[in-house]
């Protein structure tokens, strides 16, 4: 989809857009971010993954200069977030967790009013809004009251709004939380289109599928710390292996004979393995009425393996 952006093409180059070093954020003694270091390269989709309270939204606030770090270093486009807020904010598009659209205005007016905060000329804004409405498929709804839109459409409006200033960097905080699967896939498609257009994208999520599908690099967060980072598929293979056997009735299954990484979690046992054939044969030998499934390992497994917790609460 040609959005008329001055795109860079589908190329992840090595230019670092965001860099955080030993970043800390305290709220009255509570460590929301505890000494994290990370980077995001131009043109990639970077995902920050973690349960509620992991520090994802706090991190986004620091990047968008709507909150200030307690210590460490954070640069966006090479600019210091403590000093160059206006310049940084001018080049970012934010899709916040809450749909904070303006309920007093229609779809079109929401976009027009927002363009003024960036100092965009009205004639330029009008042209851009047409393109954006087309991109998010809301052209027919331009004069609707925002409060009458469905959840998915509201989200699309906020995505369109985040693109009004033709940002280099787009930040999506839980872009699909609370949406039905169809709307979710639509939004994934849009995110992929934006990446093709050369945008750098950050997203936070607690949906594994979303992170695995979209992200070039993920940072797994828990309690204000980054536990691990890298390409999602590579991380899974590195830490837990290609496949996972999930066992449901594990009362007297003797697992000592089975190789692989075993994780006891709630009423289940996970065995992570690179050799599912052997694992299965042994499992069936030990006990033939065992109930289990075998599937490719995913990020949820990795998260449970690393933290002992589930991502979704």
């Amino acid at each position: 989809m040609d959005m008329g952006f001055s795109g860079m093409g589908d190329s992840v180059n090595n230019e670092i857009i965001i860099q955080g070093k030993n970043l800390c954020k305290n709220y009255n003694g509570f460590k929301a971010l505890d000494d994290i270091s990370f980077f995001v390269k131009r043109g990639e989709i970077a995902g920050f993954l973690g349960p509620n309270g992991a520090g994802k939204t706090t991190l986004i606030k620091l990047i968008t200069c709507t909150s200030f770090k307690s210590s460490g270093k954070l640069t966006v486009f090479g600019l210091d977030t403590d000093r160059e807020q206006r310049k940084i904010k001018a080049c970012i598009g934010l899709v916040p967790q809450d749909n904070n659209y303006d309920p007093d205005f229609s779809v079109y007016e929401n976009l027009l009013v927002f363009s003024r905060y960036f100092g965009i000329k009205k004639s330029d804004a009008e042209k851009r809004i047409e393109k954006l409405l087309n991109f998010v498929e809301l052209t027919d709804k331009r004069n609707e009251k925002v409060t009458d839109l469905s959840g998915g459409m509201k989200r699309k409006l906020i995505i369109a709004r985040s693109l009004i200033n033709n940002p280099q960097l787009i930040i999506l905080d839980e872009p699909t939380t609370g949406l039905d699967p169809q709307a979710r896939r639509k939004i994934w498609g849009m995110i992929e289109d934006l990446k093709k257009d050369g945008k750098t994208i950050i997203l936070t999520t607690h949906y594994m599928e979303e992170a695995e599908k979209l992200c070039d690099r993920i940072y797994i967060m828990d309690s204000g710390k980054i536990i691990t980072s890298g390409n999602p598929k590579e991380l899974i293979i590195k830490h837990i292996g290609t496949d996972t056997v999930e066992i449901y009735n594990c009362g007297d299954v003797r697992l000592n004979d089975i190789e692989g990484k075993k994780v006891f979690f709630k009423d289940r046992i996970f065995i992570h393995t690179d050799n599912k054939k052997e694992t299965l044969e042994r499992l069936v030998n030990i006990c033939d009425d065992v109930r289990f499934t075998v599937r490719p390992s995913n990020l949820e497994d990795l998260f449970i393996y690393l933290t002992g917790k589930e991502l979704k609460e």
Binding site: T66, S67, Q85, L94, P96, D98, N100, D104, F105
Partner: protein, 253 residues
Amino acid sequence: MILSSGWIPVWKRNKDVFKKLFWVNFFLPLLEPIFYLITFGFGLGSFVKEIEGMPYKKFILPAIVAMATLSSSFFYTTYSSFVKMIFQKTFDAIIATPVSIEEVVVGEIMWGATRGFISGIMVLILFIVLGLTPPFHLTFYIPIISILAFTFSSLGMLFTSIVSTIESFNYPIFLYYTPMIFFSGTFFPLTNFPDVVVHSSKIIFPLTFSMISLRGLEKSFDPKLLIEGILPIIHGIVYFFLSINLMKKKLIK
């Protein structure tokens, strides 16, 4: 930071909403001053012959204009701004753009002031049309009403930066706003009260100065009276900067 122009789009946003809801925002509140005029000007006024050498309906006129002004400003930067800040998260959306929190607050206060000014002047024009006051009185009403609108817009924002729930506005409203409406020389002159009461009223309620000034000017044009009408700006400036600072602390954590 404050002198930058980022507050203008915030002001414009509020103006656009106002225009959309013109009937609700504008004509309905215009009824209240008319009720005041009927009740106090014509109703009570026919029993009270003269106060301070003027008929009561003339005496009450500046008070009705002033109250229309300050209520329009004050209730905008209290309830409306609070709803936008807490429930609609409009401020959060704006501060993620190049507009700063200071500019959002200034935009809100300036719109509150504009709104109060429009309300006050509309009431005055209504009174002019009804032949209750001569048109040239606009000349001194305009500066005094502007200052009053700015002062009460800033004061409303100050309370908004302090309260944590929307119900807490009852504190400033019943402990400050309502007493002010009655004890600032609005419905009756303060002259029969002891000096200490008069002076306290002047210190606590900026409206007292506006009333002395407007009422005096209604009687005869004396430039000295204009100075009293300008005094509330001292309150206004203090509330303005204080509210910007407190709002910043509240929203940027």
